[in-house]
Assembly symmetry: C2
Homo-oligomer: 387 residues x 2
């Protein structure tokens, strides 16, 4: 195995001797994992935090994105003095397996053919993503993570980490997530996949070697998904029925309304940074997520006897992964005897609230990590003393 800095950040490569065997019986080898780290690992190796990204996120949580030039997706949460304080913690963020920003996925070269995998890449699960992350954490020489945190699909990974490797997770923050994908969640993902596959430039998944890309289909998929990330009140507040740069409607199919213009922009911007086949794979991984199913249908069994400290967070305007889903997690944790705190945060920003500046969420995260750090025996923040 080798590790170095590449175009998209750090990466580590596991050779054919370290295959990732997937839940579906597939095998990914070699496996490259693209990742980023922020801050320094302490001598006791006890201050490492793993951040798990959401569906179309990546390892660039807190640095300028190499493709878009924009701040990282959790720039508001990660950095010196921020809740995931890089002056105290060693923060790790890696691209999921099946992704398209440095970790092996369907756009990578299939060693068996020398061509891009396309749909020959094995379908992966949330557990496969976590297995790959565990290989990275092993590689970094970390036995126990101080915290695993993430929202949405990232939150599913947090739950899977806590279930698969309880002794390696000191504390866990599953945010705006669910213990399984609902019928409606699957339905929206299926619409997105069908939009991609309906694009003739998808070419049965072989578009890369044919020099085309299913941009229109992927943009439609993103537009549909994007609506589910925002609350109806937030859309009404932000866009309402406002017209775009005009005083009267054009009575045409132009983007008359600001919301139309905004969605079209979201669709177009997305295709510049994301691979269409990866979109199929990450949505499919979510659909297959049903943590209880691996434990005889009893979610509490996934956490039985755990010593991990949990902080479960939901947002009251999130209709994609509503508070009821977080409550199901909390009930299971309680039944499993876990230490758990639960916060439903009042915000009108919908599912994406965890990605934006929400003071109550920031305070919650800060407080939970502070308490966990004390329990872990980590020194207090510089200039502060503990009561």
């Amino acid at each position: 195995m080798s590790a170095s800095d590449a175009q998209y950040g750090k990466f580590v490569e596991f050779g054919a001797d370290r295959p990732l065997v997937t839940d579906g019986g597939g095998c990914v080898a070699p496996l490259t994992i693209g990742f980023q780290t922020y801050g320094e690992l302490n001598a006791a190796r006890s201050n490492a935090i793993l951040l798990c990204h959401a569906l179309t996120g990546d390892q660039h949580a807190a640095n300028l994105h190499p493709l878009t030039g924009k701040p990282g997706w959790w720039d508001v949460m990660v950095g010196p003095g921020k809740p995931f304080d890089t002056e105290r913690f060693f923060v790790i963020s890696s691209n999921v397996v099946g992704g398209c920003l440095g970790t092996t996925g369907p756009a990578s070269t299939n060693p068996a053919t020398g061509r891009p995998y396309g749909l020959d890449f094995p379908v992966v699960t949330i557990r496969d993503m976590v297995r790959a992350q565990a290989m990275l954490i092993d590689h970094l020489g970390i036995e126990t993570l101080f915290c695993v945190a993430g929202g949405s699909m990232g939150g599913m990974q947090v739950l899977q980490w806590a279930a698969s490797y309880p002794e390696r997770v000191f504390s866990a923050m599953p945010i705006a997530t669910a213990p399984k994908h609902s019928s409606q969640n699957i339905a929206f993902h299926e619409v997105g996949r069908q939009a991609v596959m309906a694009d003739p430039d998808w070419r049965g998944g072989r578009y890369l070697e044919q020099g085309v890309r299913p941009e229109k289909g992927l943009a439609v998929a993103r537009m549909a998904a994007h609506i589910t990330y925002l609350s109806e009140p937030a859309l009404q507040r932000k866009f309402g029925r406002n017209l775009q740069d005009r005083a009267a409607p054009t009575f045409s199919f132009d983007a008359d309304f600001q919301i139309e213009n905004y969605l079209r922009y979201q669709g177009m911007a997305f295709v510049d940074r994301f691979d269409a086949n990866s979109y199929l794979y990450v949505t499919r991984a979510c659909d297959y997520f049903d943590l209880a199913a691996d434990y005889g249908g009893a979610l509490a069994q996934a956490f039985q006897g755990t010593r991990t400290r949990f902080c479960v967070v939901s947002f009251n305007s999130d209709w994609l992964y509503p508070t009821s889903a977080s409550r199901a997690i909390v009930h299971a944790l309680n039944a499993g005897g876990a230490s758990v705190s639960f916060v439903e945060i009042d915000s009108d920003k919908g599912h994406d609230a965890f990605l934006v500046h929400e003071p109550e969420f920031i305070a919650t995260t800060r407080g939970f990590l502070e308490s966990a750090a004390a329990a872990r025996g980590l020194p207090p923040r510089a200039g502060e003393t503990r009561a």
Copy 2:
């Protein structure tokens, strides 16, 4: 003008001397209106009910559909002894302008070119749809409608009828609808339109004359829309995470889950009965609907002094046109001094609840019409006497 029975039912044609001038400044001439009637008009011409169909509905409310062979969309509500009792009332149902089942729309021949209109068909509004219906009602020799009723986009037409022609509407039932399209409503419609237009077989709207049809794009549009017609709890109850004809997931992109299979079927069935350009037009008409905007922004002004009797109905699991939107209608009607009753019906069936057998909705409709019939001086139902 002429009227006769055709493949799709009755129709009436208005010639170049009776153009429909649209809100957008366009002109539809000739204008054919496809319609159906059920029951008999009484001698006083006082028992006519106009039913207004929803987005992709048509005039076939209570007869076998000529394309699908299935019962009409309101078969549960219209017929002998049913709430819209065809033994008492003369029930009229017409296809909207811009539609594709007998009324002039983008698939009709443009007299200026001899080719299908395509996008040269003028963008129409809900008010244009109602103007066309008024021409039909004139043609049928009916001065005042006993009732105008409809759900969803049909409910918007009901509101527009009551605002535009208050003296011609004795009673009105706007069901599962809204006084304006919200930002989220517009967003979902825009996704559908982009899905259609992204299909290379759409050909800029000229697909008919080129012998192709944007079936994949239209199917994706329908799939996305269909999710919004159902509630999350109903999806969970009906499909949950059940697998389709298999015991274990295939770890593929096949329709593993029943909900995927169901959505794919909905998409495919839709393209067999609906024209893609018509879909663009009817969604656009909804997006432009904002009744208050025509009355200085004050919805109550639309109904000022009205003598129409209203029954507003919403369903508590409808998240597309939620109860809050119906409440806004009720508040405006109250402010306008109207006679109004409001019923929020408990159902988990979401927006589509108005199309299925909901006993409380049936009882509500029956009661409202009975009371209105008494006020109108219509005879009681056969075998019944009034207290």
